[in-house]
Symmetry: C2
């Protein structure tokens, strides 16, 4: 039997999609979480010096999108032809770009550029970057019968759902008072999220997972 381990901080954040997929696939996995103060020791043992990492039978692999694609293939969530595979990756990469922007602004910009610049950028994030992206994603899900690609469940739907609550985590983390429940304002995205969270194996995982800030 293949052994799976997830290595990450004690957050959902960028690792949760991997945990969703492993749960969906019905495989057991070691959910290894560490505190930030031990990260400098762990970093050199991780490929590319980053986490999340998926360990498969003792070998470590890195980068959420690549890992999700790998697990998506394994659990029949990666589309049925090369065009669908590409469309799943495309949607995931645009979601990835959005989350990266959110992390940069709420987390990195906070200390780097001073209060005035930070507030201006957060304002742009809330009033422009996030709604523009979510409006676009909502339209894509509407056009694809309730899923990101071709009217059927694929790994990008799990990826999106796992990240949809991350907005609030980032905003809480950065001590931003703004309500960050952005996704629920979009009918098609909310309905997709609800569908994914209603999948028995995902539901079970969400019920038993550790409670964390993000």
């Amino acid at each position: 039997m293949t052994s799976y381990k997830v290595h990450y901080f004690d957050f959902r954040a960028r690792a949760e999609a991997i945990r969703f997929l492993l749960s969906y696939g019905g495989v057991n996995f070691d959910d290894i979480r560490f505190e930030e103060d031990v990260w400098p020791k762990i970093k050199p043992t991780m490929p590319f010096g980053k986490v999340p990492v998926l360990e498969v039978d003792g070998e470590k692999y890195s980068h959420t999108i690549a890992i999700c694609n790998f697990l998506g293939e394994k659990f029949n969530l990666a589309g049925s032809n090369e065009i669908e595979k590409m469309q799943i990756q495309t949607a995931a990469l645009f979601i990835y770009d959005l989350i990266g922007k959110c992390e940069d602004i709420t987390y990195y910009y906070k200390d780097a550029f001073g209060k005035e610049h930070y507030e201006k950028e957060v304002n742009k994030l809330i009033n422009d970057i996030i709604p523009t992206a979510l409006t676009l994603f909502d339209g894509i899900v509407a056009d694809n019968n309730g899923y990101f690609v071709n009217g059927k469940l694929t790994w990008v739907d799990l990826y999106f759902t796992s990240l949809s609550e991350y907005f609030q985590g980032l905003f809480t983390w950065a001590e931003l008072k703004h309500d960050a429940n952005f996704v629920d304002k979009y009918e098609n995205l909310k309905s997709l999220k609800d569908k994914v969270l209603a999948i028995e194996k995902i539901k079970n995982w969400v019920e038993k997972r550790p409670v964390t800030i993000a």
Copy 2:
């Protein structure tokens, strides 16, 4: 015969990997380039409102990494098993992250945060972010017999090579006087780049492509 069109600005930048792969595959493609002033008109006709876009038989697909993976599969440059496929994507995604950081800092930060912050960030980019990433990539190529994954040519080698000269483009664009020929300082990366540029079909493309700033 499948028809291919590449839609992008008149730059190599993020589209060049796609042009490299189509050239490597020996297929004809329309290399559609437009000026920045017409972009607002073109934007709504592109999936996700972004370019580069690859049009295949009249259908448009977006995001460089997803497109490269698709073309890599087509032209036998995507690895021979699921683990290799993941490793290729992983390397490409870390290259993508580095390039994104470079674009953010040289291009976006320039006007957004004032001279002092900008100079500090550019300094960090040159003295920390770029060398840290390239040292890591160089080690990976050293460990994999001269390629990014498993000692053989895959699409991530073409992706990396196409972007290696983009550093200079970005620095010139941002009017930074610093020598941005970073890659050539790393023995394994330089040798990989030279190998890719010596491939007959890539060489022919590089000789005939339009000369652009980035």
